[in-house]
């Protein structure tokens, strides 16, 4: 308990969202342990934590790898609520997974009630270029429309894996600093406002 006053490294909470089988877990595991898992085992909800150096600063990343499977859709809200930033994944080999990102985006905005929530649109399985169904352009247009970055990754080749996590953490860190500046001491007010809004909805 005596440890508590010592400054803990900043904790950034990242949530992996996206349809089933797009590679959320594969990306997470590649980022965490530098390995690629060939087998597909649907996830329920797994959390990972890792200490990393972000632009020279010790931080902790907390990754919540959620279930893409449809039967968990109804209880996603509770998970999303705890996220500070989101990696919204689809597979470039599967158009349906791309279409689904729209829904995930809406749900996150609704739950977080924040248009500027740190968010990356991620097209995974870029190594499977020959099976591509979603064009780079199509995806980047959607990202532009949402005002978020679009990155293509491969959990298999590790292409852009670190990038998406680091980029997201930077955004989260930036948001936190911004919030600290604008609402210094008024944090409570804001949360109350949100609540009232929810009730009206």
């Amino acid at each position: 308990m005596s440890k508590k006053p010592t400054a803990q490294p900043a904790l950034h909470k990242v949530i992996m969202v996206g349809s089933g089988g797009v590679g959320k877990s594969a990306l997470t595991l590649q980022f965490m342990y530098d390995e690629f898992v060939e087998d597909y085992e649907p996830t329920k909800a797994d959390s990972y934590r890792k200490k990393i150096l972000l632009d020279g600063e010790d931080v902790q990343i907390d990754i919540l790898d959620t279930a893409g499977q449809e039967d968990y859709a109804a209880i996603r809200d509770n998970y999303f609520r705890s996220g500070e930033g989101f990696l919204c994944i689809f597979s470039i080999t599967e158009d349906e997974s791309f279409q689904a990102t729209q829904e995930f985006r809406e749900q996150i905005l609704r739950v977080k009630n924040d248009e500027n929530i740190p968010f990356l649109l991620v097209g995974n399985k870029s190594d499977l270029e020959d099976r591509r169904k979603v064009s780079f352009q199509e995806a980047s247009e959607r990202a532009k429309q949402w005002g978020v970055p679009y990155v293509e990754t491969s959990a298999k080749t590790r292409e852009h894996v670190d990038k998406v996590f680091y980029d997201l953490m930077r955004e989260i860190r930036a948001r936190k600093m911004e919030e600290n500046k604008t609402n210094n001491g008024r944090g409570k007010d804001k949360s109350k406002k949100k609540k009232l809004k929810c009730t009206i909805l």
Binding site: K44, D46, S47, R49, Y79, R81, L201
Partner: protein, 700 residues
């Protein structure tokens, strides 16, 4: 109308016969007393004739009438039993339907479990919840959510979500609708092991499996916005169990929620908009209630009920129940629908209602440890209260079970040391006195419920069956004489009739149960009597009976005249009776047999009785016949014929008279016997009997 002077049946029974007019006409046209007297005589004769005809008709239909009455009473009881079966069926169906309704309301694990299973689980679950209540301080509300089901529990180590330091040990419970944490009670004097910390609604929490990294092994996380709590299990297997249970509960809840939403949307489209918004709105409970303020007494009713039941002030509890019900109906009538306070109280009151019912049912339950000192009287209160709670079917059931148990103990107390007849007298008196008493109590407790009365009829009939089977075992033994048997049967019949005054006629059932053993007993008696007759025949010397003294003769005559036989005409000298010992002994035995038969008589037994009466009589008459055939001496033949005459005329007449007195008509088989052997009376013995068909086969 042409006035006819002569009275005839036709005239008197014609439709337009007017007595006044007829008499007037007669008195006008007829002059003089003698003529009128003649007419009067004639009318008198007509009257008697009609009367006799009427009697004959009544006799003719008498058996049919009795049989019909019995058949009706039988039918009535069958209808009752049928009604009982139906109401049992109904109760079963109702139970099934409530089970499924509950299933709709509550987030039970909706797997492939069948309903019976579910209700069994319900009981188990209630016990489990109750045991948690005893262990955990401060979670009284645990039972107040209907359908809450226990799923899992265990010790967990809570760690800090940021620095992973140990915080404390918790004992956690998972229910179908929520996750409850408790911590160890440090207060040594506290009776309970744990203290309630918090209960999270399942819908508001997210479960996350923490991947094992470094020291933090076997952990899972609960996201309860805005908090996060991390728990550490002792092994990966226990973590897996927790996660699986959570998953199970979540999924069950989801399907539940879905069904509920669908049904609500269907019912009230106007409200669907608000319900479609996120179903797990954590701010819902922050909404301020601006509804009606309910009186304090209403809010406090659940607690009042608890106190009443604990102090066994059941009547008061009932008043509270009624009061709350009245208040709610009144509120709903004026406001259209109940608000959430009402719903809450209603739910709580319902739980108390069920609790009260259970307590009362326990009161009535038969328990070997419980004394039956108070008997049925002690059960009155519980029965009355249960009836008021609308549980008359159950209370009736328990009441009757109690009756059975009381009856059983009472019967066990009857000592078996005395004679069979005495034992039966005691036992049947105990059984039927109790049954009468129970019937009285029953009618008091359940005055006007047809399903209860049918349950009662079934009960009574079962008890009677128990009694009769015991009775048959005790009484129908080879060494029991028919007279003893008759005495016992008559006794039981008269006891059974006592129930008739309460409208419960079980006599037909009793007779039915006794029919087969009685038939056997009658046949056994016949065989024995014939055997004895043969032995007597061997010893018969065909000499008049010598009574040895005047007083002996007087005593003998008196004894026989008491049986209905006047022997004065057979007396010669001071001490002789001109009949053989064999004839006289037979007469006495036969009258006893007849007497027993007549007392035992039922329509179903009559055939056997007639057969027995014939066979036994015939055995004696055959002896006379064969003696006559072998006798050449005229004097001796006369003596034998005299005996035959005594048997076939004097004794038979007496028998027929007695038979008719009880049965209503004369005995056919004895008639037949007399006809067949009428030659004997004239002193003629047919040389061959081989052509004679046996009487009994004709009867079949």
């Amino acid at each position: 109308m042409e006035p006819s002077k002569e009275p005839t049946l036709n005239l008197l029974s014609s439709k337009d016969f007017v007595p006044e007019k007829y008499v007037r006409d007669l008195s006008q046209s007829l002059v003089g007393g003698p003529e009128l007297r003649r007419l009067r005589k004639k009318i008198q004769a007509l009257y008697e004739e009609t009367n006799n005809n009427l009697k004959r008709n009544v006799y003719h239909n008498y058996m049919q009438f009795i049989d019909t009455a019995k058949e009706i009473s039988h039918l009535e009881s069958e209808m009752y039993q049928l009604s009982h079966l139906l109401s049992e069926q109904k109760a079963l169906l109702a139970a099934l339907s409530t089970t499924s309704i509950l299933g709709d309301e509550t987030p039970m694990i909706t797997g492939a479990e069948n309903k019976n299973d579910a209700s069994e689980r319900g009981d188990e679950n209630r016990q489990k919840l109750a045991s948690i209540l005893e262990k955990v301080e401060g979670c009284k509300e645990l039972l107040e959510v209907p359908g809450r089901t226990y799923l899992h529990e265990g010790d967990l180590l809570e760690v800090d979500p940021v620095d992973n330091n140990t915080i404390k040990t918790v004992h956690a419970y998972l229910f179908t609708d929520g996750f409850m944490t408790t911590y160890r009670n440090t207060n040594n004097r506290g009776l309970m092991k744990y203290v309630f910390e918090v209960m999270y609604e399942l819908g508001s929490l997210a479960v996350v499996n923490v991947r094992d990294i470094g020291n933090n092994k076997h952990q899972f996380k609960l996201l309860i916005f805005p908090d996060t709590r991390v728990f550490q299990c002792t092994a990966s297997s226990s973590k897996k169990e927790w996660l699986d249970k959570f998953d199970q509960a979540k999924k069950a809840r989801l399907t539940q929620e879905q069904q509920k939403r669908e049904s609500i949307v269907e019912k009230s489209p106007s409200r669907s908009a608000s319900i479609e918004s996120p179903s797990f709105n954590p701010f819902e409970d922050m909404e301020e209630d601006v509804g009606t303020i309910h009186p304090e007494w209403f809010i406090e009713i659940p607690e009042e009920l608890d106190v009443c039941v604990a102090q066994r002030h059941f009547e008061e509890a009932l008043i509270f129940l009624q009061k709350s019900k009245d208040y709610i109906t009144q509120f709903v009538n004026t406001n259209g629908q109940p608000d959430h306070v009402i719903i809450d109280i209603q739910r709580k009151v319902e739980l108390r209602h069920n609790n009260l019912t259970e307590v009362l049912m326990k009161e009535l339950e038969v328990n070997p440890d419980k004394s039956q000192q108070g008997g049925l009287r002690a059960a009155r209160r519980a029965v009355r209260l249960l009836n008021q709670l609308g549980r008359s079917t159950q209370s009736c059931d328990l009441f009757l079970k109690l009756c059975s148990s009381i009856l059983k103990t009472q019967c066990k107390r009857v000592k078996r040391e005395c004679s069979t007849a005495m034992y039966v007298r005691h036992l049947s008196s105990v059984v039927f006195t109790n049954m009468c008493h129970m019937t009285e109590e029953f009618l008091r407790a359940f005055p006007s419920s047809s399903s209860c009365s049918s349950a009662y009829v079934v009960w009574a009939s079962n008890e009677l069956s128990l009694f009769t089977s015991h009775f048959i075992k005790q009484v129908f033994m080879p060494q029991t004489s028919l007279s003893t048997l008759t005495e016992c049967v008559v006794l039981v019949r008269s006891q059974c009739e006592r129930l008739c005054s309460f409208g419960v006629d079980l006599c037909y059932q009793l007779d039915g149960a006794l029919r087969t053993p009685l038939m056997q007993a009658l046949k056994d008696t016949r065989d024995k009597s014939i055997e004895v007759a043969k032995l007597r025949a061997l010893e018969d010397k065909w000499i008049p009976m010598n009574l040895r003294s005047k007083t002996g003769l007087a005593r003998f005559l008196l004894q026989y005249s008491e049986m209905g036989l006047k022997l004065d005409d057979y007396v010669t000298g001071d001490i002789w009776i001109q009949l053989t010992n064999s004839t006289l002994v037979f007469a006495k035995l036969y009258l006893t047999l007849l007497n027993d038969c007549l007392q035992l008589e039922t329509t179903e037994l009559l055939h056997t009785i007639n057969e027995v009466l014939y066979d036994v009589f015939e055995a004696q008459v055959r002896h006379v016949e064969s003696s006559l055939r072998n006798e050449k001496q005229v004097e001796q033949r006369k003596f034998i014929t005299k005996n035959a005459d005594f048997l076939l005329v004097i004794l038979q007449d007496l028998c027929q008279k007695k038979y008719k007195e009880t049965i209503g008509f004369e005995c056919e088989s004895l008639h037949k016997l007399k006809k067949e052997y009428s030659a004997l009376i004239k002193g003629v013995s047919p040389t061959s009997r081989s052509t004679k068909t046996k009487y009994s086969s004709e009867f079949l």
